[in-house]
């Protein structure tokens, strides 16, 4: 069980071409335990930067993240990066096992491979797989560690629509099997509506929260029509999001 509070007053990159302008400013966000939150924003608005802050990869910012990602009671973290980031010189299975503690349950890993349809590819080197399969392997890695907090950075981008839909269903299935807090970054509104409990809209850089919308519709009822309807409702009711919708 891990909730999450982000209070980021300012984040800027040193030495970049745009040193003076922060990429994130006055971003406050509180996430309940096991909540599935989708972060929606235009590309380049600082979403990946935000996830890197939450992951503790980037520690140069003003503000606070609780629980502290580098602290003693840091949540167990799964991170699905935008690119799969598998070690090309280790087999798919070794890639996942390396991320796990020694006392992991091999049966659960095989179960995960089974659900994502990678059982046959376990002994293969990642570069011999398609990008879609590599992405699924990266998902297995993130779920296999049984995370308290799962960060996903556009994990479905550049996948063909049927594969993207299958992986979307998969993410929900695995999340229901073992609930955990999720921050899911996307620029695709329909995808966010299909997945989230709650949508957080981010402004263009410097990123800050400009919209916070709960989705009351149960996930089973979110077919294409319902998603479209929710989208147009958002457009009517939240004029400030015009640029994003």
């Amino acid at each position: 069980m891990s909730g999450l509070t982000l209070d980021i007053r300012r984040k800027r990159y040193r030495g970049g071409p745009d040193t003076a302008r922060p990429i994130i400013e006055n971003l406050y966000l509180s996430v309940r335990p096991n909540e599935f939150v989708c972060l929606v924003g235009a590309s380049g608005c600082g979403k990946t930067t935000l996830l890197n802050l939450v992951a503790g990869l980037d520690r140069e910012f003003e503000g606070a993240i609780t629980p502290d990602p580098a602290g003693a009671n840091a949540p167990r973290l799964g991170y699905v990066f935008q690119n799969p980031r598998l070690l090309p010189w280790r087999t798919v299975r070794d890639n996942i096992v390396l991320a796990l503690p020694d006392d992991h349950d091999p049966a659960y890993i095989d179960h995960l491979f089974e659900i994502v349809g990678l059982s046959e590819a376990r002994a293969v080197y990642p570069e011999r797989l398609s990008v879609g399969m590599q992405r699924r392997a990266a998902l297995v890695r993130a779920f296999a560690i049984n995370p308290d907090l799962l960060l996903m950075d556009e994990p479905l981008v550049s996948l063909d629509p049927p594969t993207a839909r299958r992986i979307r269903e998969l993410i929900l299935r695995l999340w229901r099997e073992r609930p955990h807090t999720v921050l899911f970054v996307t620029h695709d509104l329909a995808e966010a509506i299909a997945l989230g409990d709650r949508l957080i809209f981010l402004s263009a850089a410097p990123a800050t929260v400009i919209g916070d919308v709960a989705i009351p519709t149960p996930r089973e009822l979110r077919d294409t029509a319902a998603i479209d309807a929710f989208g147009s409702q958002l457009r009517r009711e939240h004029r400030q999001l015009a640029g994003l919708l």
Partner: protein
Amino acid sequence: MPTTRDLTIPLLSLIALAAIWQLAAMLAGSSLLPAPMAVFEVLGREVASGRLPHHLGITLLRLAASFGLSMLLGAAIGIALGRSPRLDRFFDSWVVIALNIPALVTIILCYVWFGLVETAAITAVVINKLPNVIVTLREGTRHLNRDLLEMAAVYRFGRVATLRHVIWPQLFPFVLAAARTGLALIWKIILVVELLGRSNGMGYQLHLYFQMFDVAGILAYSIAFIGVVQLIEELLLRPLDRRAQRWRR
């Protein structure tokens, strides 16, 4: 990669080389350019007498010592420089200077400063080889994939696993490249070192034959030398290379 390579063409080319040599020797008709058979006779005699294995063994020992030392030291320094831009900015000019000192100068200075002893010989070879290893490993370290390092940090690989599974596989091709060029370099320098200040080893023997103008002896020792280098390449470096490549598409 097939296990048995087609050796027809390399074999034919070697025979052609021997034929040209034979022809040149016949045209020259001088003991300064002996025919292939004469050289192989000398080679057989030197092997049988135990002289050649003795001197070759000593040279190989020196090679192993100086190669091992320079690889270890060079890798440590190269990785350190690759990881710290500040250190690199300071020491970069040292590396450039070291790269450009003529081999002969280091050899002479080592003998002058340390005397005609084994340590001086090994040190001279190591100093010659070191900058080359440093530069190669520094390059490799600079190109470590940040994405994968971040992944290892997020999934809490820890220091040892990160080094073994993330960093080492990326540095390995650079280590292999440094080993290859290094071996070729050391082979050449070590002979000069022996020639100038040692009373055994291949370089010493070559010096001896040079003073006697015994070209057959010089060529016989060279052939033995080339053979050993090829063996190291085929039995050690190539299999390592293949192993490092096996995960590629």
